[in-house]
């Protein structure tokens, strides 16, 4: 058991309770309130990771979500999370993490050899080499690069956790719960507004918890806790800790991820790991604080070198010293706070090095004003830094920790998510929110450049009042607590020029000052080119601590100002977020909802095999005992239907109820063929075109009354046809009296097909209805009753080509009806058939379906050219006349039979002349659908052939080079079975 050698007293951790955790297999102790990073530091662990490119040893740089260095693999198997920032990973008992991007161990990483060759591996070096020999890139160079690159790994196992999504609504969304956010939420909450306060941390208060200051006469962290207690007691305020607002989207919509269970070993039973909230806000106040930036100097990346504010936060909040001896390197007064706080905590501060010659004095340590750090020593952790004093001498300062402060950058990220640009503030030497903010967003606190505690409290309150006043919610001006209000005193200083080693800017992607210089030298000067060429700011931290320095160096080189040099665009998410949260519960079997047909339960009892048709599950075939191959089942279903009778659930076809005085006129415009004169009690096949003249959908329309039709659509197009019909009704012909409503789900509909279908139905349909061919001929429809009074609809239509009906009852009776049909049909050996047999029979009849209606074919191609009326206004008829669609050799739908009956016609094969070449230039067409016809005992197919109507009898080659087959096929009529349609009219 290791001792927590760097643990101090106090802080916001529970010293009385211990948590046990492992890092790289080694066991440590921490306390509730710790992060993995604070606990490791407490245990004297400075080395936490390896950099991306050179595998340099790295330690923690920050105490927050901007961390570039301390990335670990947390948890294991399906829960393994690579690239987890130790600085925000909340410690729990049993936590296990491993370092990453190293082999075999963090201390001895073989690929740190890259560092020796770093002079060859400068920015963009890979664009200039690895080109010869040509084949070596994919075979040799690239695999090596890929294996060396990447950071952590996932196991590839399924993530076992679930994620929720949710939707929240508020008047005011306050992003960040530091002094500004808390004061804003208090102000708005007290005014009665609906407020959401979200903060990424697990203890709210922001820097109030990291500083040794007082607010309102009490410790700042106590003030934060009191504020939070008041907010939590308000019904109109929702406080979301552990919640990162990841992006600002249009019209006041924000995305936020709440981490429900990341601080637990596993989520509680039934609980999601995280919730992705979509927040609809009328106003938003960004109180996201600021991020400290480092100063680059030679070898500024050794473990132990961290941001001054972070080192202070570790001491004040987490009761951890970075090391027993630390030094401070700063260009501003805030760095001095770190020295003072650490000295007060009894840490030995060996020096304060301030780049400013007029630096304020310090107590308790030595001040080097006007000095710079020009180097550092220590292999896996910092031992000392070398400084150049104002007098030009060098001195070595012993320190195991160096606190660096180059000033603070307001966290403007979310202000830029809608492509607003921040503007430059000379006093802060930083970008502050620009004028072009997302609509409804304002900014307060350090994010707005108000860097003092009092400034944050004040602007937070003012921001809330202003936002609510937009919404006509009066809010009282709160009494602001007393707090420090020190001005920012800083002299911009970005990097130390002197030094033998590399000065690191982007610590994760290993981008140095020299790399920026090289980019400049090669004219990658635009900030976007700089970023892309050097990879600056493209790591998991998205350059939160590095982008500014990169810009500053480039500005120096070009002689332009920093704002002239530009800023890269911030994009969502604010910090990396688990993809699981964005997927929510729509994964695995629940990726899409399932639609079940009315006979679903019955079909399961029959042992049916199901297939996905859109979201529907349909029975594909019904295997019988002894059948070992699906073809046996399908052949039987087809043959028995054609011989006697079969039943198929066809509920999935779209049904649209069309009523109104102008219903017939409306359908006459929707369909290419005529509907005005369809008699009541009759059904007609209808072909719908798109406005561009291409066939869109087909189905039937049944006229139940003068002013009442029921239209069917294909399963796939049900929603789309309904949408188009609404468009036609509302936008094209707004004064036609038509009412539309979908009734797809309301009716259970079964096809009853085969020569015995009438006999079967006569047993079901109530006796008062005459089903004889004379009384109810082909293409009739009627509202009837069955099974002693159950209301039903009967249509005499046929997809199979047999004498056939479709019968519909209210869906709740659909299960009983399939059972009744089967029972009544027993004497006829009735067979249930699935989509496969349905498909075989329609191919045998040459009926077009989805494969033929593929969005590029016209009525002419389908052989229905004459159906398109030229004598009326209907969608698509004008554009169907374009000459390119009416070429003499246009594709026509025809049938194909293999010359050798033992061979197979394949859908997707291309047709070539029997004696011509096989290539694209000589392509004659393609087969769209194919099946084995048990009736013809042959493979058959239908498809499109150039000038096909005139080529009956021609033998072609069906080329399928994809699968290495070629079959001779004969062109035949697509109507393989009963071409004159006698059976369906019987």
């Amino acid at each position: 058991m290791n001792k927590q050698i760097n643990r101090l007293n106090g802080g916001l951790i529970d010293h009385d309770q211990s948590l046990s955790f492992k890092f790289d297999g080694k066991r440590f102790q921490g306390h509730p309130g710790d992060t993995l990073a604070s606990a490791l530091l407490a245990n004297g662990v400075r080395l936490m990771g390896r950099s991306f490119k050179y595998h340099r040893p790295r330690g923690v740089l920050t105490s927050g979500s901007e961390e570039p260095n301390a990335l670990v693999e947390l948890r294991s198997s399906g829960r393994q999370e690579p690239n987890t920032r130790a600085t925000v990973a909340e410690l729990y008992d049993g936590l296990a993490a491993n370092s990453q991007n190293r082999w075999p161990s963090l201390e001895r990483d073989v690929l740190s050899i890259n560092d020796l060759f770093s002079n060859f591996l400068t920015a963009g070096f890979y664009y200039k080499t690895f080109m010869w020999p040509k084949a070596f890139w994919e075979k040799l160079y690239e695999p090596i690069i890929r294996n060396a690159a990447g950071l952590g790994s996932i196991t590839g196992e399924d993530d076992p956790d679930v994620y929720d999504k949710g939707f929240l609504h508020c008047d005011l969304l306050v992003i960040g719960a530091g002094p500004a956010g808390l004061m804003a939420a208090l102000t708005a909450g007290r005014a009665g507004a609906r407020v959401i306060l979200a903060d990424e941390d697990f203890v709210l208060g922001g820097r109030l918890n990291a500083e040794s200051i007082e607010v309102g006469g009490v410790a700042a962290s106590d003030w934060a806790a009191h504020a939070l207690a008041e907010l939590s007691a308000m019904d109109n305020v929702r406080v979301l800790p552990r919640t990162t607002v990841i992006g600002a989207f249009d019209h006041g919509i924000y995305g936020a991820v709440e981490r429900i269970a990341d601080h637990l070993p596993t989520p509680a039973s039934g609980q999601p790991r995280q919730i992705m909230w979509r927040i609809y806000s009328k106003r938003a106040l960004l109180c996201a604080g600021a991020t400290e930036r480092p100063i680059a100097f030679s070898n500024n990346d050794r473990p132990g070198i961290m941001l001054a504010g972070a080192m202070r936060a570790y001491a004040n909040r987490w009761a951890v010293r970075a090391h027993e001896q630390v030094a401070v390197f700063t260009n501003n007064d805030d760095g001095h706070r770190t020295a003072a706080d650490l000295i007060a905590k009894g840490v030995h501060v060996t020096a304060v090095i301030d780049t400013r010659a007029d630096a304020p004095s310090v107590d308790g340590t030595e001040l080097f004003a006007g000095a710079q750090v020009i180097g550092s020593k220590g292999r896996l952790g910092l031992n000392s830094v070398t400084i150049r004093t104002d007098k030009g001498f060098t001195r070595e300062i012993i320190c195991g920790g160096l606190a660096v402060s180059g000033g603070w950058n307001p966290n403007v990220h979310l202000t830029c998510h809608q492509r607003g640009r921040p503007k430059w503030d000379e006093d802060l030497a930083a970008f502050v929110p620009g004028d072009n903010l997302p609509v409804g967003m304002t900014v307060a606190g350090a994010a707005a450049g108000a860097m003092s505690t009092y400034g944050a409290l004040r602007t937070g309150a003012e921001g809330a009042i202003a936002a609510l006043s937009d919404l006509d919610i009066p809010a009282g001006v709160p009494e602001l607590p007393e707090a420090e209000d020190s001005p920012v005193k800083l002299r911009p200083f970005w990097h130390v020029s002197e030094g033998k080693g590399r000065a690191w800017i982007d610590l994760q992607n290993d981008v140095t000052v020299k790399d920026v210089k090289l980019a400049h030298q090669e004219n990658y000067v635009s900030v976007e080119h700089l970023k892309r060429y050097t990879t600056l700011g493209m790591a998991t931290d998205q350059g939160k601590t590095s982008n500014m320095a990169g810009l500053a160096v480039m500005a120096e080189l070009t002689g332009k100002s920093i704002p002239e040099t530009g800023t890269t665009i911030f994009r969502p998410p604010y910090t990396p977020m688990a993809m699981g949260a964005l997927a929510g519960r729509a994964v695995g079997k629940h990726f899409h909802p399932v639609r079940e047909t009315p006979s679903h339960k019955w079909a399961i009892e029959q042992g049916a095999v199901f297939t996905e048709v859109g979201d529907w599950l349909r029975a594909q075939w019904f295997p019988k005992e002894g059948e070992t191959h699906w073809r046996q089942s399908v052949d039987r279903e087809v043959l028995q239907t054609r011989a006697s009778v079969g039943v198929c659930d066809v509920t999935t076809l779209g049904k649209i109820d069309v009523q109104g005085a102008d219903a017939a006129e409306f359908l006459n415009k929707i369909y290419a063929n005529g509907f005005a004169k369809l008699a009541v009690g009759k059904v007609r096949y209808g072909l719908m075109l798109r406005e561009d003249g291409i066939a869109y959908d087909d189905g039937t329309a049944a006229r139940l009354a003068e002013d009442h039709f029921v239209v069917t659509t294909t399963t796939a197009n049900a929603v789309l046809v309904y949408r188009r019909m609404e468009f036609a009704r509302q936008c094209l012909w707004p004064d036609l009296d038509v009412q539309l409503i979908s009734t797809t789900e309301a009716w259970a509909q079964y096809a009853v097909a085969g020569p015995n279908s009438r006999k079967l139905l006569e047993k079901i349909v109530d006796a008062c209805f005459d089903l004889s061919n004379e009384a109810f001929p082909f293409m009739s429809c009627a509202e009837i009753t069955i099974c002693e009074g159950c209301r039903a609809r009967l249509f005499r239509i046929s997809f199979s080509g047999e004498l056939a009906y479709e019968i519909a009852v209210p869906t709740r009776y659909g299960d009983a009806m399939i059972r009744a049909l089967m029972e009544a049909g027993e004497e006829f050996d009735v067979v249930p058939y699935g989509t496969e047999a349905l498909g075989v029979m329609r191919i045998e009849k040459g009926h077009a379906a989805g494969n033929e209606l593929n969005g590029t074919t016209t009525a002419l191609n389908l052989g229905m050219g004459r159906m398109v009326s030229k004598k009326k206004d209907c969608i698509g008829n004008i554009m169907s006349e374009r000459e390119g669609l009416n070429q003499p050799d246009a594709l026509r739908l025809v049938g194909f039979k293999p010359v050798d009956p033992g061979q197979q016609v394949v859908a997707g094969g291309h047709l070539m002349k029997a004696d011509g070449p096989v290539d694209a230039a000589h392509d004659q067409g393609y087969v769209t659908s194919a099946a084995f016809s048990p009736v013809l005992q042959s493979s058959i197919g239908i498809g499109y052939l150039k000038d096909g109507a005139e080529r009956t009898g021609e033998v072609l080659r069906l080329a399928n080079p994809l699968e290495g087959t070629e079959v001779k096929v004969e062109v035949v009529s697509a109507h393989f079975v009963d071409p004159d349609g006698g059976r369906q009219r019987a």
């Binding site: 020299k514 688990a578 929510g584």
Partner: protein, 416 residues
């Protein structure tokens, strides 16, 4: 300067002092033979081939912002030649062949990596369509293989085979498809063009065309008037805005396509996978990030940003296909503005203005087309005749009814 491994070593040993600018920043001249409007991938490639293959001098590329800042700088890096229709496939096959020799040709490592593209199929109808497409590809000289479930599993064992809403029934594998380091394409062409004397002029926005008697004379720009014998416009994403200045209305709408990258991971996905039951495709970059995308945001926009519903839609599909992705973190999303044409296919054509040529309508497929687009546009600009693989990309094809509609969804750009 020629790039090579030797040169890299030499420079490393001599303090990297010898590297020269990858391209110059010249002042615009008063007049050029050919002005290419648009310093994206297509514009730069056009200039490169005009100089290299068609022997032209006095060429300028005018770019409103920084070169390579359009879709060549914001895409999912995929190259492929797996189109169905004869109007398209020969063109994309030509493009793929150019990719295969590109790096040696322009002496810049763009990391062309033919790691294979797999289009998954989940239904029998999809398999039929895949077979038709695969055959069309082979008949046009490209490559394709039809895999069954086991074949897919052998390549990608971590896909959802056990608990999928839409089970994987196979896939169409196009082995020569792959990925390219996208920014490097722009830089490689820019450097190659620059070395052949092309003036690449950044921060130079074209504000108008000077046209007299139906003939182009030059372009008005934010840096003054520039005369030109011929002007080629290659500004996909902004085509309508630019061509409107020449009085043209186009069969194009602008839409935003979002794309995403995850945090870096150790190698996991060797090739490119396209889901067949949802909007999701994915590859892994050499740096380890999973690069993925899905559908466009559906509404007309010129804003280079999208909204949450599409982000969620894409990632739902991603996690449904690869359940392990739930744990992977999304690092960054971005949006690029697409020229969505009325049939989903592009234009490389003359206009009614003599000497004014148009290249656009690339939908979300412009990146893979870059070499062929540049070559064919250069061919058209140089010879006034379309290149043989680009004869179908005419602006008047809707008038005559010769659409090239791969998806078969008709005149609705957001569905292509």
């Amino acid at each position: 300067m020629r790039y090579s491994g030797f040169r890299v070593i030499k420079e490393a040993l001599t303090g990297h002092k010898g590297w020269t600018p990858a391209w110059r920043d010249p002042e615009p001249k008063n007049e050029y033979d050919i002005v290419v409007v648009g310093g994206g991938g297509h514009g730069l490639a056009t200039a490169y081939y005009l100089a290299k293959e068609f022997g032209h001098a006095r060429i300028a590329v005018l770019e409103k912002g920084w070169i390579g800042g359009g879709n060549v700088g914001r895409n999912t890096t995929i190259i492929r030649s797996n189109y169905l229709l004869d109007g398209n496939e020969p063109f994309y096959e030509f493009s793929l062949k150019l990719w295969e020799g590109l790096e040696q040709d322009f002496n810049f490592n763009a990391m062309v990596s033919q790691r294979g593209i797999l289009n998954l199929v989940h239904t029998d109808a999809q398999r039929d369509a895949a077979r038709r497409r695969g055959n069309a590809m082979i008949l046009n000289g490209s490559d394709a293989e039809l895999l069954d479930t086991a074949g897919v599993r052998a390549l990608y064992p971590f896909l959802n085979f056990s608990n999928a809403r839409f089970p994987i029934k196979g896939g169409l594998l196009h082995r020569r498809g792959g990925t390219v380091r996208h920014d490097a394409v722009a830089w490689g062409y820019a450097r190659g063009a620059d070395q052949r004397g092309v003036d690449i002029i950044q921060n130079c926005e074209v504000t108008g065309f000077r046209i007299e008697n139906g003939k182009i004379l030059g372009v008005e720009t934010s840096r003054g008037y520039i005369g030109a014998k011929k002007v080629g416009v290659a500004v996909a994403g902004s085509s309508s805005r630019v061509m409107e200045k020449a009085g043209m209305r186009l069969p194009i709408e602008s839409h935003v396509l979002q794309a995403f990258v995850s945090e870096g991971l150790k190698p996991m996905i060797p090739g490119v996978i396209t889901f067949g039951a949802g909007h999701f495709y994915c590859s892994q970059s050499d740096k380890g990030g999973l690069v993925f995308g899905g559908d466009i945001d559906m509404y007309n926009t010129y804003a280079q940003r999208g909204n949450l519903p599409v982000v969620e839609d894409v990632i739902e599909s991603g996690v449904a296909l690869i359940p392990a992705l739930g744990r992977v973190r999304l690092l960054r999303g971005w949006g690029g503005v697409m020229d969505m044409s009325m049939d989903g296919s592009p234009f490389i054509d003359r206009t009614q203005v003599e000497g004014l040529y148009f290249n656009g309508g690339w939908c979300y497929g412009g990146f893979k087309a870059t070499p062929a687009s540049g070559w064919c546009f250069a061919h058209l600009l140089s010879t006034d005749r379309p290149h043989e693989v680009a004869t179908a990309f005419r602006l008047d094809r809707f008038r005559s009814g010769r659409m090239i509609d791969e998806k078969g969804v008709g005149a609705q750009p957001n569905l292509h």
